[in-house]
Amino acid sequence: MARCGRQLARASSPSVTVGLSVPARGYAAAFAAAGVTIECDALRPMAPDDLDLHLATLRETPPGTPIKYHAKDQIYDGRWLGICEVDGIEMLTFETKQKVTRRLPLHMALSIRLTGETASTGMLRAKKLTASPLLRAMIGESRALTFMTTARADCLIVGTLNLLKEDLTSGTLFASGDPVDASGGTLQEIVRARELLGAKRYYRSIIVPSASGPGTDVREMQPHVVVFDGGRAYVRWRHVWPRARQLVIIDRSLPSAEEAADELSMAFAERKADSALLGKLKLPPAIEAVSFERHA
């Protein structure tokens, strides 16, 4: 499932749909979403690595925009003030806690990272952050810290909040596969669903309850991937994000499976093109899978 999420996130066409029928829904959407968030972070890192490009971005960033200043093992909340000249030299200027204005030379721009938020009214703090061992093992220390301190809706998961919460937060997973190694964690540390503990402000995924549907703000988002956790979620909300890659997980044990499979079959029959995405995956025999490109 995680590989499927990664492949889908990597698909060049945003109109790809992958449908999977599984014998039980548990953990499928959670692993797929974890694959999506990791891949999206690799494709579009929020930690800048090109100094010139990042400087150009900062020059266009409006004053007041929330930032994070990474200084060794400390991470400071900050508000961007702009690039100003001091004694004829351009300096990066931002505000940190207790209204302290800090200035840095331009070559240190990569230590200033935009959080992905447009505004913040919260208190500015400085924290010594430690990335979760699982996340660190998956994407490395430096990326992990940025991952935990930036917000972007890469993945929407449409499903039942309580079930997804259970899948994302229960149990301990180990990157090495060895429980003796204590680098364990939960899928939530990778999926960072906004609705669950620890990711309210800095998130990578949003859970949309399939019973009530998305609010206006979420409806207007343009996520990279939407994971429909269950046939009912797909039947009800498949039209809402037409420009997102779609992953449809149909639990074959549920009454809604047939209706969702019919809808998916109809979309498959009217497809624009086949997709080779599944050819890159080795699926277990208990899973049926289909992938195709939708018409715009």
Binding site: N162, L163, P255, A257, A269, P285, A286, E288
Partner: protein
């Protein structure tokens, strides 16, 4: 809580499960089934005529029960004696009413009268044999859960489940009573038993279930059910009769008879006739629901999480769990809203009735088209005929757009602002009532555990906040009438009993 390990086990079962078929032979039941089949074939369409329907419906129902319940033939739950008492005298009348069928009918009457003396338990014995003696931990899977309690009493060591229950658990061994085509395909698409046996009578022909779900998938779900063995000539009655397609035994609703019975049962009713759809519920109830103008009904969803919500009546189909009130006013939301409104309810309802009557009078006197034109001239943006009729209906509260309402009030000479406020008060009370019922019902279903609901297909829940008589009944829809009927408004949403012979025959 579902652990990653238990989910992984379900994937393992899907990859490794095995299934087979166990053919059951019993000469007496076979003779009875063949005689019923022969009579039905000889009658053809005539079986639906009143005289013959009184014979064939109970016989078909008995045939279904004998093939789906692992209990002795003459077990009280089958009521063979009751059926024989009703049907045998009629069959014997055939020598006067249908001499050409007299011999066949007499033969069937003889078989039936001997059947209730038969204490054999062919399906029960098959279960014990298929389980190799030990039934501990074995799941007995029933196609029809109405006699589950009697079966559970007879098989104390086993779990007796229906398909929706099996799909929520897992077991090393399950024995399904009936051919695979009598069960939802989910039991082979999402197997929960490591070994599943279908035990059914040898003269029934089963069709292999379709395990695949997704069109275009290069991988397919494996079907692990072995082909049926050859019928045992030593156990079967010789000569072997031709096999019958098992799907022909599945009960079918006789809509013509159900509709006629509904007219008799429910009485004339009052209020203007409205187009309504008749639904049959697994609880043995019929219920008419208004289908006009996007009318809605409450349903319960029992998938991974219990959810109660409103859906258009037009979208209701077989398998949906409908919520109705067993007694009292069918519109329980209105009643609860009135109790929330307290002593303001009577005045507000009077105002609501007053403007609706005036609008209805305009529609009657001037015609819908003229009324729509006039409302549009008065500034109503949505004055279409279907909308205006809905606004005049007692089931709606008010238009959503205040401009539509203002135009109506101007046309009928009522104060728009004052009435808008009054109708909005009712509207809010309905919203609160709907939320309250939803919340309380979900709590009740959770408290009572959904096992009984899943096993029988229906359950009554007492929601204290709804005053007056009647519980809320959550029941699975087993059929939706093919045609609409005009039904007085007072009969809508009120369940009425439907004879089992009409929908299980």
């Amino acid at each position: 809580m579902t652990s990653l390990g238990s989910v992984s086990e379900l994937y393992d079962i899907a990859e490794t499960w095995e299934g087979d078929r166990f053919l059951v032979e019993h000469p007496v039941v076979e003779q009875f089934s063949a005689a019923v089949g022969a009579l039905l074939a000889a009658l053809g369409e005539d079986q639906h005529e009143d005289f013959w329907a009184g014979i064939t419906r109970p016989l078909k129902r008995l045939r279904w029960l004998l093939a789906t319940t692992p209990l002795p033939v003459n077990h009280p739950a089958h009521d063979v004696r009751g059926v024989a008492g009703v049907v045998a005298p009629r069959l014997r009348q055939c020598r006067h009413t249908a001499p050409a069928l007299a011999e066949q009918a007499e033969g069937l009457a003889d078989i039936l009268e001997h059947l209730w003396a038969c204490g054999d338990d062919p399906l029960g014995d098959a279960v014990r044999e298929a389980a190799d003696g030990s039934l501990t931990g074995v799941v007995l899977l029933l196609a029809d859960g109405r006699l589950a309690d009697s079966v559970a009493a007879a098989f104390g060591e086993s779990r007796v489940l229906t398909a929706p229950q099996l799909l929520r658990t897992r077991t090393p061994r399950a024995i399904a009573i009936g051919p695979s085509s009598w069960f939802p395909p989910a039991i082979v698409r999402a197997p929960r038993a490591e070994y599943l046996t279908f035990a059914y009578f040898g003269w029934l022909r089963d069709r292999d279930p379709e395990p695949g779900l997704l069109v275009g998938s290069p991988t397919t779900v494996r079907s692990a059910i072995a082909k049926p063995p050859a019928r045992s000539t030593s156990r079967a009655r010789l000569p072997l009769a031709p096999e019958v397609d098992a799907s022909e035994w599945v009960p079918r609703i006789e809509w013509g008879a159900v509709t006629r019975a509904a007219r008799r049962t429910v009485g004339a009713g009052h209020g203007e006739p409205v187009p309504a759809q008749l639904f049959i519920l697994v609880s043995g109830d019929g219920v008419y629901l208004d289908v006009k103008d996007g009318a809605q009904a409450y349903i319960a969803e029992l998938e991974d999480e219990i959810n109660v919500r409103q859906v258009p009546v037009s979208s209701l189909s077989e398998g949906t769990f409908l919520i109705v009130r067993t007694e009292g006013e069918g519109d329980y939301i209105r009643e609860l809203a009135d109790s929330l409104l307290g002593n303001r309810a009577a005045d507000l309802r009077a105002v609501q009735a007053r403007w609706k009557e005036k609008l209805a009078t305009e529609l009657e006197e001037r015609g819908a088209r003229a009324v729509c034109r006039r409302l549009t001239r008065l500034g109503a943006p949505r004055a279409r005929e279907d909308n205006v009729r809905r606004w005049a209906s007692p089931d709606s509260i008010r238009p959503n757009d205040p401009r539509d309402f203002a135009a109506i009030c101007e046309m009928i000479g009522e104060p728009a602002d004052e009435l808008w406020q009054a109708m909005s008060t009712i509207f809010v009370a309905h919203l609160q009532a709907g939320n309250e019922v939803r919340k309380l019902l979900v709590e009740e279903i959770r408290k009572a555990d959904s096992a009984a609901l899943l096993q029988r297909g229906w359950y009554d829940y007492d929601v204290e906040s709804i005053e007056g008589e009647g519980a809320l009944r959550v029941a699975r829809i087993v059929g939706r009438a093919p045609d609409l009927a005009d039904v007085p408004r007072s009969r809508l949403r009120k369940p009425f009993r439907v004879s089992e012979d009409l929908w299980l025959g």
